[in-house]
């Protein structure tokens, strides 16, 4: 090279069979006789299937029929979806009030999208979830009656967390305000429990009340999945920490709970919650069926999340724990500031996997007569005027589920890259 004078050498274009579309195809699709044949066969198959599908789903499809019999003998009957989409999305919610579940879904989705952003992972997250949940349930119920006890519980929890986390860091003034908050919550709860404080409720009632038995469709799926996992997540963390605890009683309880829940199917848990529980309660006291299903989902998801998180905890080297101890951090500080951020990062893929699984598992609530999105779609099939088009309905339902699950999957990918910036080369 070096002995060739500059300018002597002809500038050659790269060989045509190595570059451009042709080159790419040659390299990737037709690199040998076998590969070439496979490519051709698959291409023919794809075109054939696509042709058949488009013929059915678009060219001969019926978008305008007013009853099912008009659709018969043609392609896809999308008119069915047009007629039924409001029922499929919102179930038996009063028809003229469908804007309420619509905005509730929008509120929940905005809440989820906002909390997906890492910049919000601080006090803002609490505000987002507080406002989002308030708007969602206000729209769904129409009226909220927030009992005094809830405020007291919040005060106790906030005060307690503040005391634990800021120990040895905060000044006396700040510490005292946490202590005061916790004390107000605790004393208030005790007084409320023995009946000295009245059963005061903060009532906000701008809309007509809609009970949970009328809820259906997409809001039910999203509420069950979102709040199921939102509560199961901290609960699962506690279980995972408890399982690694040195205290035999705590450890035994956590192991027992996790193994018991993982040992039975979700359906049996739902049946227990919906069928056995009311038989044991004295007549007259009923716990809302939706709430029972929600609690069953939380317990179930908690056990699974606990095991995922335990995997993350075990992957941490012992030095991290010892270093935190050496820094003089107490247990909550050590766990929340040192251990969990590292452990959770490791388990993001299995965690999102659990989330996606539960988003779809919520359909099992049909067994206790709650209509989530898949079940309202099923219900659309039963109308005698529109009988006989299961393909269209299931395809539509599958599409909606795919949109949600694929978004979660992409988010997991983004989060993995984002959180592993420090360890990537």
């Amino acid at each position: 090279m070096t002995d060739m004078p500059v300018g002597e050498r002809k500038q050659l274009a790269p060989p045509t069979d190595d570059s451009g579309i042709l080159g790419w195809m040659r390299k990737n699709l037709f690199s040998s006789w076998g590969n070439g044949l496979t490519t051709v066969v698959l291409l023919v198959a794809i075109v054939w299937i696509l042709n058949w599908f488009l013929e059915w789903a678009v060219f001969t499809a019926n978008f305008t029929a007013s009853t099912g019999s008009e659709c018969r003998g043609q392609g896809a009957c999308w008119a069915l979806i047009r007629e039924k989409f409001r029922y499929i999305f919102f179930g038996s919610f009063p028809y003229e009030q469908h804007w309420r579940p619509l905005f509730a879904v929008i509120a929940m989705l905005s809440m989820l999208v906002l909390s997906a952003d890492r910049r919000m992972w601080n006090w803002r997250l609490l505000v987002i979830w507080g406002v989002g949940s308030f708007v969602t349930f206000l729209l769904m119920f129409g009226q909220l009656h927030i009992p005094l006890s809830l405020f007291l519980v919040v005060a106790l929890v906030v005060g307690g967390i503040g005391m634990a986390m800021r120990q040895g860091i905060a000044r006396a003034g700040e510490m005292n305000s946490y202590r005061a908050l916790a004390a107000i919550g605790l004393v208030g709860l005790v007084l409320r429990f023995i009946g000295i404080l009245p059963a005061w409720k903060l009532s906000i009632a701008p809309l007509s009340y809609v009970e949970t038995s009328l809820w259906g469709g997409l809001p039910v799926t999203i509420i069950l999945a979102t709040y199921g996992l939102a509560f199961a997540f901290p609960y699962g963390i506690l279980l995972a920490l408890g399982r690694r605890s040195n205290l035999p009683l705590v450890k035994g309880l956590c192991v027992g709970f996790i193994e018991l829940i993982r040992g039975v199917p979700l359906i049996s848990l739902l049946i227990m919650a919906s069928v056995m529980l009311p038989l044991f309660l004295p007549s007259g006291t009923t716990i809302d069926k939706f709430l029972r299903a929600q609690v069953a989902v939380i317990l179930f998801a908690g056990a699974y999340i606990a095991e995922v998180i335990r995997g993350g905890l075990q992957s941490l080297p012992k030095g991290q724990f010892e270093a935190a101890d050496a820094m003089g951090l107490n247990y909550p500080q050590k766990t929340l500031l040192i251990i969990l951020p590292q452990a959770l990062r490791v388990v993001i893929p299995p965690l999102i996997n659990t989330f996606i699984g539960f988003f779809k598992d919520t359909s099992l609530v049909l067994i206790i007569g709650i209509f989530d999105f898949l079940n309202t779609a099923n219900q659309a099939l039963v109308d005698p005027n529109w009988a006989g088009f299961p393909g269209e309905v299931y395809l539509f339902a599958a599409f909606v589920y795919f949109v949600f699950c694929y978004s979660m999957s992409r988010y997991s990918k983004y989060l993995e890259l984002e959180l592993n910036k420090g360890t990537r080369r």
Binding site: S92, L214, I367, A387
Partner: protein, 341 residues
Amino acid sequence: MLNKIMAAGVVAVGLVGAAGTAQAGKDLDAVKARGQLICGVSTGVAGFASADSQGKWTGIDVDVCRAVSAALFGDSEKVKYVPTTAQQRFTALQSGEVDLLSRTTTYTLTRDTALGFDFTGVNYYDGQGFMVNKKLGVKSAKELNGATVCVQPGTTTELNLADYFRANKMTFKPVVIEKIEEVRAAFFAGRCDVFTTDASGLYATRAANAPNPDDYIILPEIISKEPLGPVVRHGDNQFADIVRWALYAMIEAEEYGITSKNVDEMLKSDNPSIKRILGVTPGMGKALGVDEKWVYNIVKSVGNYGESFDRNVGAGSPLKIARGQNELWTKGGLQYAPPIR
């Protein structure tokens, strides 16, 4: 020690539960105090109970709930519908989650007794049959030895099927699928040779779902009696009476030619039976513990039995099921209501 405490706890909880159900002779009071009837329906059976595009429940089973509501409150819309699955329906009624179950439930001895329920009548006489593809060349159910059979789980259908094949010394391979829509789809896709369910369901399926209805035949054998009717739990006879007579009133109204359209004119009728039924001559409502105009309210808002049948499953619906055994006794069917007097 711990075990003993826990055992005591379980017993105590059990006692509370037992006491709760034993003193619940107050189902009617509870319904009245609530101002709403809670009615268990199926999770979707065309013509019997299904939610329409607006989320409103319709069907012949739903009409029973509406009739009871009309008798109790003078308004057929004071009903909360709770969809129940085949497995969950009886516990929903036992636990008091629903007041009344009206969901294609077959009236049998064990259900009426051991489960602690009372069937209050029959709103649809059905029977189990078989549907096959004509290509099989089968003319009788006796020729079905070795066939694969599509069937729903947890129903008397499944049990009858096994009994019938065993009694005729034949074997079969069951294909068990929970959802009726999916059973149908499996059958028409050729996953099984035979589809068995109640004859009403077979006719409806053939009319609505078959790619070409002429390709399928329903075999002549009807292998079971399936009287479907509303159910209440033991413990409140007055409530059971109201449910029973709400259905009888619909049948009686058809027999006397009282329809939702002519009920106002019928109030002026001279026929003493009609006067009694519609409460022009008082007494019936008082005896039943409801408003004297209870039958008027039922017929006005729900219609008589024939109207309900036509609208939901009969000639006026896409299902087009013939009246058959569900015709009035005066026209050769089985629907017969004791006199309202």
